[in-house]
Every structure is written in C-alpha cells, then in structure tokens.
C-alpha cells in the first residue's frame, strides 16, 4: 500500500436526478474516505461537475476513478495535478461580534480579504473565498470570538491553462494512466 494523501478528483456527469446519490453511495459502500464533494451544473445544463477530495492511497484513487467511470451517468473522471490547479472554497461564518469587537474582526477581514456580509447588534456574518488552507487559517483566528455557525462549500477546482476535463487525455486533469490498458 502506498502512502495516504489527499487527491482532487474532477468528474463530469449527466445532470440527472439521483446521480449524486449514486456517486456518494459508491463511496460509502466501497469505504472510500471522502473529505468533501461539491457538485453543480455546468455551462451545459445537461452536465454537472463534481469536485471530490479523497483521502487515500493510490490504490483507492485508481479504484474510485475506475468504479466511477463504470457508472452510466458519469461522463469523465480525472485526477487533478495538484500544482497546476486552481482550488477555491467559500466559507460563511457567523461570529459573536459585540460592538466593541467589530473593528478587530474587520481588521482580520482585511488581512484575509474576507467580507462582512451581515451585521446585527451582536453578530456578523463573514464571507471568505480561497484555498482550503487559507480558510482554515482564517477560522483559527476567528474562532476565539465565538463561532455561532458556519458553512463551507467544499473545494471546487479547475486546471490552469487551456486544458479541460472534457479533453482530459491531453490535459492536466489526467487520469493516472500508467496502469491502464
């Protein structure tokens, strides 16, 4: 068994009801450890795109890709090359913010390029976009103020440059080809 690490997997699937259930059901029954999955329709309303963050080794990665590719509703699956990808995640967090704390929080926002999107007498909702590490760092700083609730979208990713998942075979979104027939 090779070493466990994080893999980013992109997948295109037909935008049919139940497709996410099928995909997540596959992960559950085969015991794949998924950190996040985000899915939405694409420029083509019949196609949706998923970004999956997998914790696992190479064996699990190959199995996940091959098992997903067998699904009728799945069009293409690829593993992103970490270095050549743009990763983004969005976070909304509601924090305690009594009037005397507001300016401190706004200062933190400035450093992290976060935004205040709601203000009430003693709470604020902050919005931040970035790669997951940046969000983690931001949350660490915000936590002492008291997090009431929060929601992260999960990671979305696209390969840099002209390559797309659709033409994955020559793109950065390349399935790990060395074992394929």
């Amino acid at each position: 068994m090779s070493e466990e690490k994080k893999y980013t997997i992109g997948a295109l699937a037909y935008n049919k009801s139940g497709v996410l259930t099928r995909v997540t059901g596959l992960f559950t029954r085969r015991g794949y450890n998924i950190e996040s999955i985000s899915a939405c329709t694409t420029e083509d309303p019949e196609v949706s795109r998923m970004t999956i963050i997998l914790n696992g080794d190479e064996y699990i990665l190959y199995q996940l890709i091959k098992q997903m590719e067998k699904m009728e509703d799945v069009i293409k699956v690829g593993c992103a090359n970490e270095l050549d990808c743009v990763y983004r995640e969005l976070l909304l967090v509601k924090v305690h913010a009594a009037p005397e704390m507001r300016s401190q929080i706004i200062q933190i926002n400035e450093i992290y390029k976060a935004k205040t999107v709601d203000l009430s007498p003693d709470t604020m909702i902050l919005e931040i976009t970035g790669d997951p590490d940046k969000l983690d760092a931001f949350l660490k700083v915000i936590k002492p103020y008291g997090i009431l609730e929060m929601q992260r979208t999960g990671v979305t990713a696209l390969a840099r440059g002209k390559h797309t998942l659709k033409d994955r075979d020559d793109g950065e979104y390349k399935i790990l080809d060395k074992h394929r027939g």
Partner: protein
C-alpha cells in the same frame, strides 16, 4: 402508431427478441399484463414468488447468453426481486427487471405498495431507471438491454409508473444494433505475448468472463498451443472438457489438488475473465507472489483490484485471444506437462470417492441426457457438484458464485429448462431447497422436466463443516431437525418423488428418475439420503496460500 406505455414495453421486448419472461402480476403492472395478454407473442412463466422469477431469468440468461427478463409489481413484488438481481449482479449475468410503480400523484407519499426500488437497487444493478414520462419509455427499455448485454454484463432495473403504462405515445419500431465488443488495445498484446512466450511453467485461470464472451473454444486453442494447463473458477466451469489432459479442474477454496500444486509451482498466471475473488485468491497478497500475472478482463476496475497484475489488457477475452493467438509461439513443455500429469494422478488417487454424494453425482452426470444443464444451490452440494459432476461445454452450468444465494436453484433450474428445452439436473441440499421449494409448483404447472438431487443430510452442511473446522464442533443452529417427507412433498405438488435411501442402488433409482422426468415431463425429486458428516475436501482456509491445502479433516 400510437400505443399505450404498456404496449410499447411489450413491443420493445419483442424488438429485443425476448420470447420468455418470468414474473408475477400485481396492482401496478396490471396494464403490462393486459398488454402481454393481448400480444400473445411472449411466453410468460408465472412463478410462485418473485424471487423465483428473478432466479429463473438469471438461469435462462446463463444457459442462452441472452438477456433474461423478469416482471414484478411495485412494493413487495419489487423487493422480492432484490436477491435475484443481486445474484445476477455478482455473477455478471445480463438481466432486465421490469417493475411497476404507483402513479405520479401517489409517488413519494408512502402509498400502498410503493417502494423506492431504484434507490434500493442502485448497489446491485449496472444501472437502473424510473420512467415518469411515456415518451422516454421505448428508449429506456432499449438502453436497458444495451447496458445489460454489453461490456461486463449485469442486471438493469426499469421501474415504470402506472400512469406511464396507461398513457399513449407514438411508437416507431427500432431494430436493435448488435452489441459488438470494443476493439482490443493492440499495443499491449505484444508485451503480453512476449511474457507468455518467455514463461516456463504457465497456468491459465479461466473465469466466468470466458463463458460470457463465448470464448471457450479459444481457451482450448490457447492451452494446446502453449502446452499450458487450465484451471477454471466456479464461474468458468464448462469452458474446457473435464477429461481434457490439460484440464486441472476447479481452482479455489475447494479446488482440486492438481490446481493447488500447479499454481504453487507455476511461474506465470494467465488470468482470463476472472476477478481473483477471495474464494479464488484466498490470500490476495501472496496468491501470485513472485509470479508473472497476465490479467485479461473486460472491466477496468477489476484490474489490480484484488491481485496486482504484471501485464494486463482491458478487453473482451474472446477478442483478446483472437488477436493474441497469432503472436504466441507453439510450445512444447514436456517437463512441465510431466509434472502436471503427476499432479493430476495424485488428484485422482486422493479424490474422496467414499462419500455418497460423489457416487450420486458421478452417476447422475453419466445418466443425464446430452445437453442437460447442471444447476446447483449453495453449500456443500454445490462444491461437490463443481468437483465431481463433469460439465464439458460452456453454458450448461448455473450456480450462484459471487453472492452464494441459498434458494437460487429451483428458480434457476426452471429458467435453464426454458432456455435449453432440456432436462436440467438440480443439485440442492435440504437447507437450500427449503428456501425456494415453492417453485416446485411452477415447475409442475409448466410441466418442466428436471431431476432434483436433494442431498438430504438434515444439516446445513457447509456451515456445519466450518463449525467443525473453526468452532470446535459447536454445531450452533445447523441441525435442521425437520420432519419433512420430501417424497410426499413432491407428490403433493403434483411432481414425482423418489427416495434414494442409503441401502438403495444409485444407478437404478437415478435411471428411473431421468426416464420419468422426460417421459412425464415433470420434475422428479430424488431424496438422496447422505451422512451429515461428509465433508467438502480438499480445502484451503480463508486467507491461506495454495501450499496449505488440507486433504482431510480431523474428526472427533
């Protein structure tokens, strides 16, 4: 031409060449059954239970190579299919299961006999559909057949809402395209040929994929060309004649001594259409240690899943062999064959011929009419049948390998009878038979000739054997303690019952059984009394390697 959804379904089945359907009517499929009644072109076999219908469709598909079809109503009708669908899924059997569901206005409201059968069957189908618009129906049915019968075959479920069956829509017939296997990626072939040509002690492991691809004749060609012995998996049984000098018998947990010894000595494994299940590989890390593994499978996800391959090709076994054979050297491996012959001799010498089941199966195999399929249930009798009952042609063996479904046999035997028009031999045990003996009613009402060899030992033999080996003879819940008179049972069903007591001559009884089954066109149940202490041997314990095969159990 405008037709109702139900009529379109029947028309689409006719398009696909479906002539036999197994099923059970009910509230949400009334329209389908009405269309079936009016069409009159498709023979519908009414089973006693939907599970029997699913197994029958499976048996029919295994013997014909066509896609088996079963019908069930919504709710319990649909859930009763589940075990049969899962059985077909695990053994890659092409099947289309059609279920009805409640009308759109009742959907999602926990209506009477409503169940989310597409949700339930996601993990056990290649794909499934719920049809909510009659305009989608014809193409969905066509797609279902295409999915079931292409690539790695398997079951597809189509759930059709009641109002879709009633609604009308324009129907245009379509001639289905022949499903042809994908081309073989040729760049790998040369490397594979090189590795095979360089091998000194190769062994072929032939699995269910060989049967599915109708590639048995090519296996024979390959083994002759290479002077290479062939071991078959349970699913591959029938791909090589058992009396072929290069046939080693079945491989696996209860495989032959010859397969175990050959595998241990071999330097190269040529695995064709097999997935190295835990009952074959046993210890997936050590199974092929220090050997070259060449893996051919149609399903990419099977490559390197259980056993890591040295070289592989992801393609239909038949197509691969067609392209590969010309690249291979004709070889004579005298030294290797001398060893193989010695292993086979040892195998024959050590075969446990003392057990009564052995004698019964040997005799039945000799007496069965040409072309009779062998069908088994699951357990000791299944392994005995796989070991001792010679099946010399492909598509004459039906057994639940992957799922190990007790109760598979009766339904599958009915399907196999309809598929072949011959007299199947069903080998079952009193445990398994108890699970689906209701299908005796079906077999009688449709006058299906078959010979049922009921290995009657009063225990759940295989579980009991494991209790012997792994649980210090603590026989928890494996003594059946039933008082069933199987001969009377058969007679009460309108079938024929015969008792083969321990004092009776096997040959006389079985000859009479075959004669009566064919003459009266009825199932004949032969109640074969055997000892509860007969074991399935040899055996390799789970997780162990092929050099640790056990040839006898310690009894105390």
């Amino acid at each position: 031409m405008k037709l109702t959804g139900a009529e379109i379904l029947i028309k689409c089945l006719e398009e696909q060449g479906v002539d036999t359907v197994f099923g059970y009517p009910g509230g949400t499929v009334l329209d389908i059954y009405d269309a079936l009644y009016r069409s009159g072109k498709i023979d519908h076999v009414l089973t006693a239970h939907e599970q029997g219908a699913a197994h029958a469709a499976d048996g029919y598909a295994r013997v014909t190579g066509k896609t088996g079809v079963c019908f069930a109503t919504s709710g319990p009708g649909a859930t009763n299919l589940v075990t049969g669908i899962a059985t077909a899924f695990m053994d890659s059997v092409p099947m289309v299961a059609v279920t009805g569901n409640v009308g759109i206005n009742f959907l999602g409201r926990d209506s009477f006999q409503e169940i989310d059968i597409t949700g339930i069957t996601i993990p056990i189908t290649k794909h499934n559909f719920i049809v909510k618009d009659v305009k989608d129906l014809a193409d969905t049915i066509r797609r279902a057949f295409k999915i079931a019968g292409s690539g790695r075959k398997g079951p597809v479920l189509v759930d059709i809402l009641k109002d879709v069956q009633i609604a009308k829509c324009e129907y245009t017939p379509v001639v289905p395209q022949k499903i042809t296997p994908k081309p073989v990626p040729s760049e790998r072939l040369e490397k594979i040929a090189e590795a095979i040509n360089a091998s000194k002690k190769p062994v072929i492991i032939a699995g269910g994929g060989v049967i599915a691809a109708d590639a048995a004749p090519l296996i024979n060609k390959l083994s002759k060309k290479l002077d290479c012995p062939v071991a078959y998996t349970l699913m591959g049984k029938g791909c090589i004649p058992e009396d072929d000098p290069l046939c080693l018998g079945m491989i696996g947990m209860h495989g032959t001594i010859a397969t175990a010894k050959t595998l241990t000595e071999a330097d190269t494994i040529i695995a064709l259409g097999t997935r190295f299940s835990d009952r074959v590989a046993l210890n997936r890390d050590k199974f092929a240690e220090k050997k070259v593994v060449i893996h051919v499978d149609i399903d990419d996800a099977e490559i390197d899943k259980n056993v890591k391959s040295t070289l592989h090709i992801m393609a239909d076994v038949g197509e691969t062999l067609k392209s590969l054979l010309p690249l291979l050297d004709d070889r004579q491996r005298k030294d290797w064959l001398v060893k193989i012959e010695a292993f086979k001799k040892e195998n024959a010498a050590k075969k446990d011929t003392s057990i009564r089941a052995y004698k019964i199966l040997k005799t039945a195999a000799a007496l069965a009419p040409e072309g009779s399929p062998l069908v088994t249930d699951v357990g000791q009798h299944q392994m005995w049948a796989a070991q001792h009952y010679a099946v010399n042609s492909p598509r004459l063996f039906c057994s639940s390998g992957g799922l190990g479904t007790m109760g598979y046999g009766m339904g599958a035997a009915i399907g196999a009878a309809f598929g072949t028009g011959k007299t199947p031999v069903l080998v079952t045990g009193d445990g398994c038979f108890g699970m689906n003996m209701n299908e005796m009613m079906t077999a009688v009402s449709r006058r299906v000739p078959m010979v049922i060899l009921l290995m009657h030992n009063g225990v759940l033999g295989m579980v009991r054997q494991w209790q012997k080996v792994f649980y210090s003879h603590r026989f928890s819940q494996t003594n059946l303690n039933r008082k069933t008179d199987y001969v009377k049972f058969a007679e009460s069903m309108g079938a024929i019952g015969m008792l083969l007591g321990e004092d009776k001559d096997i040959e006389t009884t079985l000859a009479a059984a075959f004669e009566r089954a064919e003459k009266e066109s009825l199932p004949v149940l032969v109640d074969c009394i055997i000892s509860p202490d007969e074991n399935v041997l040899p055996m390799i314990k789970p997780g162990q390697t092929y050099d640790t095969q056990i040839e006898a159990l310690e009894e105390n």
